[in-house]
């Protein structure tokens, strides 16, 4: 085989690629990770570099009722967003799968719209809508709004996993006597489960992270973690803000790890099975 002088061997190419990627990776990740040492600082203020290590700020965070109720509000909103967003997104993906009808693209566009419309526009719209129907002063409107913006993520991940579905499986289940629910349970569910899980994790992180809509619709008892951080940064700069940031990073990392472990496990079980002759 002839090799030109300019191309590198595959092994070297890979090394060079990782060398180049490393700074980019660091640029993306390190600023986020800075919150962790700040949260574990022993100072009463936010300082960097940290003076010494202590869990004081973490303890302070969990002792402060304002912060814990913000955490709980975030979890409730995320809970609503995950459950409803997953149901909506998965239903849309299943309903649109393998069909062709006039106006289908418009329906897909509608499902994906919350991803494209600027959040502040959505926030204003939701704010006015929930006031007009009298649904204010609780975490529910925030959760519902988050469910709407989470839906396209679940739709996309579910749709991607449905692409691998053998349509004959649906027919064979039907010919064997399966009704609609059994077909869903035994044919669709096993196929879309990975998509559903990653969609649900997306929904969770979208909701946990969302600030603008939560700010518009906040009320006493319905102040989410990012909103609380946002207001405290302006008036009350304490390491608790860093603690809650670290908490969010941790939650996001755990979510990512679940996904990675799940994917690796599926791959290895698929590979472990020997093919019989």
């Amino acid at each position: 085989m002839k090799r030109s002088r300019k191309t590198l061997q595959p092994g070297r190419q890979r090394k060079l690629l990782s060398l180049l990627s490393l700074p980019v990776f660091a640029f993306l990740v390190v600023p986020t990770l800075i919150v962790v040492p700040v949260a574990l600082n022993n100072s009463r203020y936010i300082t960097f570099p940290p003076g010494g290590v202590s869990l004081a700020a973490v303890q302070g965070f969990f002792a402060d009722q304002a912060w814990t109720s913000a955490l709980s509000a975030s979890m409730q909103a995320a809970g609503i967003a995950v459950v409803l967003g997953t149901v909506f997104g998965a239903s849309a993906a299943l309903g649109l799968h393998g069909r062709k009808f006039p106006g289908q693209q418009a329906v897909v566009g509608l499902v994906l719209a919350p991803m494209i419309v600027p959040t502040v526009v959505l926030a204003l719209a939701f704010y006015q809508f929930f006031i007009s129907v009298g649904l204010v002063g609780s975490i529910i409107p925030i959760g519902l709004a988050h469910a709407v913006i989470a839906t396209p993520y679940v739709y996309l991940t579910t749709r991607a996993s449905l692409a691998g579905l053998n349509p004959a499986l649906v027919r064979s289940a039907q010919s064997l006597g399966a009704g609609m629910l059994s077909v869903f349970r035994h044919v669709h569910l096993p196929v879309i489960l990975p998509g559903l899980i990653s969609g649900a994790l997306f929904a969770f992180s979208v909701s946990i992270d969302e600030t603008v809509m939560a700010l518009f619709m906040q009320s006493p008892g319905a102040t989410t973690l990012p909103v609380k951080m946002f207001t405290d940064i302006q008036f009350n700069l304490t390491p608790k803000i860093a603690v809650s940031s670290a908490l969010l990073v941790t939650v996001a990392t755990i979510g990512l790890l679940i996904q990675v472990v799940y994917v690796l496990k599926r791959r290895s079980t698929a590979r472990m099975m020997p093919l019989a002759v």
């Binding site: 039907q174 010919s175 064997l176 399966a178 035994h186 019989a276």
Partner: protein
């Protein structure tokens, strides 16, 4: 298990009252927009009969089967199972075992769970369904492999699971759409025999789809030849093969010699024809009407003759001989026609004609078939 007799391919109702699995299609038509996939189709399958839909790609075989299974709705006409119209029944209530081309086994379930599925849907108690699933796996020669996932099974084994799964709930009939297309030749022939044996021992009706004429010949009680959404000919394999109604059917089912013919007289059974350059002769006739006619003689029905005796035949020149292993293919120019003659290699020594030599060939009157030239 009883060894039952295959119902004859007649259209009289079956005498065994208990036997089920009659399928009737009456004037069934299916269109997709402007495309007519199936047109005015009449087809009756007797209980216990093995009927094959044979036709080229796009002739409407799958569409016909899917209308029987209930996955496609017909545009007009009626489908009946055991005399009951099923036009408004969804697939799951038609009680038909379907084997799909790539088996469509549930990948996350073991072979046994796949087989048990239909019983589970019918709320059969766990212990009984397990026993019946194991029985079914036994019957297809897979005992002991029930715990394997489909991807741990070979193609032939997967097909057996699919068969067991389609049979375990005692369906009224079995529908198979090109079930052997994914298997290699040898395994395919083996499975053909196995399926045929299984079908006979169960006495179940089968609607089988293939575009492989050898497969159709080997397995069927009756072959239904389809073209462009219509039935061109239907009958027992030997009849369709030896007595095709058109040149298209003759060529689709194998090699043949087509000699243009002019009809002198005919009575529906036999015809006297003038074969340009080969004189006049008597041939079989099925009464098919057309503009132009030809006579079809299969290469294996054309024989060398010792001399110019007998009425169907003539003298010519042997132009080539090709040894194909079991058979030898000769080409003979006779009366301006190039005819193919096929004989067993083991018979070839006796005749021993050299290429270029003068030969006499002929055929039996009942092996020559008058047919309509299409197009």
């Amino acid at each position: 298990m009883t060894t039952s007799v295959i119902a004859p391919a007649t259209h009289q109702p079956s005498t065994t009252a208990a036997r089920k699995g009659a399928i009737d299609l009456r004037q069934v038509r299916k269109t997709y927009g402007d495309v007519v996939a199936v047109d005015q189709l009449d087809l009756s399958i007797q209980p216990g009969e093995f009927v094959t839909l044979l036709g080229p790609s796009g002739s409407g075989k799958t569409t016909t089967m899917m209308m029987v299974a209930g996955f496609e709705e017909h545009t007009s006409g009626s489908v009946m199972i055991d005399g009951v119209p099923v036009d408004s029944l969804p697939p799951r209530e038609r009680n038909l075992g379907v084997v799909f081309q790539n088996y469509a086994l549930f990948p996350h379930m073991s072979a046994r769970e796949n087989v048990e599925f239909a019983l589970r849907m019918r709320k059969v108690p766990k212990a009984e369904s397990r026993r019946r699933a194991d029985d079914a796996l036994d019957r297809v020669g897979l005992s002991g492999l029930g715990g394997r996932k489909p991807r741990q099974l070979s193609g032939g084994q997967q097909q057996r699971v699919a068969l067991a799964r389609a049979l375990v709930f005692n369906p009224a009939a079995l529908l198979l759409d090109e079930p052997m297309a994914a298997l290699d030749k040898r395994l395919r022939e083996h499975m053909q025999e196995e399926i045929k044996t299984l079908q006979k021992s169960l006495g179940i009706s089968v609607l089988f789809v293939t575009h492989d004429q050898d497969e159709a010949m080997a397995m069927s009680d009756r072959i239904v030849v389809m073209k462009d959404g219509r039935i061109v000919q239907s009958g027992p394999p030997e009849e369709v093969y030896n007595h095709p109604v058109t040149d298209w059917v003759a060529s689709f089912l194998g090699d043949t010699n087509l000699i243009p013919a002019t009809v002198i007289s005919r009575d529906g059974e036999e015809a006297v024809v003038d074969l340009a350059g080969l004189g006049t002769g008597r041939v079989r006739d099925r009464g098919a009407q057309g503009e132009r006619y030809a006579v079809s003689i299969r290469p294996e029905h054309l024989k060398f003759r010792a001399g110019p005796d007998g009425e169907n035949g003539g003298a010519g020149e042997l132009t080539s001989s090709t040894n194909l292993g079991a058979t030898i293919r000769h080409r003979i120019t006779v009366g301006g026609h190039s005819l193919q003659l096929r004989e067993l290699s083991s018979d070839a020594g006796a005749s021993g004609h050299a290429v270029g030599s003068a030969v006499h060939v002929g055929w039996d009157a009942d092996k020559a078939q008058l047919l309509v030239l299409e197009g």
